[in-house]
Symmetry: D2
Subunit: 135 residues, 4 copies
């Protein structure tokens, strides 16, 4: 297991499972988003405050390898590492492990950037400064 900058523990809820009885492939992106937003809070960035102030952080790429399925009631951990990949782009390396065994469930690389009110890439200084503390 990598050394993560942030970890969050969650549990599968029944409504997140589809007709196969597994967590649906789209729902894992919800888990990853929630882990990122909680991680951002530890850097002083509150996603919903940013939205209210017109600052849009957006995902430009999701690269997800599914290794095993989560099912009803499974406890799992999402680990996050932030990597700066260009002045405007940051990659969240995010992996999910089944608990308590720590079996790998999913490996993800989620790339995000900022967009200004005209839809052009732009990251306000307060955001990049906060991210650069860790990225």
């Amino acid at each position: 297991m990598k050394k993560y900058q942030f970890q969050i523990e969650l549990q599968v809820r029944d409504y997140e499972c589809d007709m196969q009885g597994h967590v649906n492939n789209a729902v894992y992106l919800n888990y990853l988003e929630h882990a990122r937003h909680e991680f951002l809070k530890t850097m002083g960035l509150n996603f919903s405050d940013l939205v209210r102030r017109g600052i849009s952080l957006v995902i430009i790429r999701n690269e997800i390898d599914y290794k095993r399925s989560l099912v009803s009631g499974d406890r799992f951990m999402v680990g996050v590492i932030l990597q700066k990949i260009s002045p405007l782009r940051y990659c969240f390396v995010q992996d999910i492990y089944l608990l308590p065994e720590k079996k790998l469930v999913l490996k993800g690389r989620v790339t995000g950037t900022g967009v200004n009110s005209k839809g052009r890439p732009e990251l306000p200084a307060e955001v990049s400064t906060a991210l650069d503390g860790l990225g």
Copy 2:
């Protein structure tokens, strides 16, 4: 625009948009799944029938590039091309375009396989035969 084997036209619903007013990044995976399952029907494969019969088709990789956001009411098209990449693995090349302008919204590569009741990779002959007709 590529020449797709299958196309489906859909429209954004308000509940699919998040606090940024855009379709949430996870919801696009719902759109892609729906397009794939409709595509499978044209090959004689009904996903829910397969589930009932114990045949699990699962996603092992999602690779998604988000090019522009969809918002409330947007009409869009999902195009699909099937590529066989190994005896047990198939890749769905899936792109989304905003209509009527046909502006690129998202480029996706979704890799799937089959899993038997023991969780091992296996594709029943009826499935691989159907997919090979196009893949």
Copy 3:
């Protein structure tokens, strides 16, 4: 079948089904919301435009009787009738029917109102005028 002021036809998507293989009970509220918002458009009210302009239409009560389940691929119709129940409150009578048989799936009564920026009940004149045309 009642005489509805608005009808919309939709189809169940596989990701809307839960581990029982049925549409999850919460998802029907998505269907009802989508039908209401499409209905509002026919009265000249665009929900997302209203949100952008700070006008919040909110649900204060949902009363839903589930009569039969929808499953993968089912086509269904949502019928809507608008009833004014007080100067600030409107009730959307919304029923869902399985197609093509028109078997009753769900009977709903959804009560909504408007809320101003201070969180107090208030409906801008343009909204109540539009709704009163039908309600």
Copy 4:
């Protein structure tokens, strides 16, 4: 606040909020379902195990009064009381409170029953015995 038989504490996740910045009205049904299923576990009933064994517990009525909205990051408590209303029908009285203030967010009454493989109302003895311990 009523005296609840079961309580669970949860927190709003950003992806559960819609374009109004509030938790979408359908998402509260997810919260209520999750609370019910956790409550059922305390009675020895595991919903997903029941599904696997062909026992379907279904919702036949949702009656929800929304009192105030939850927003990003809000912590809340779901309280549950079980009431038997007929040999085959049980009502879950479920209320949601914003924490830490314990302000009422939602009052719900969710009625459920069992359905056998032919779609007829039926509750296996093991289920009604477990529910009757509390209901």
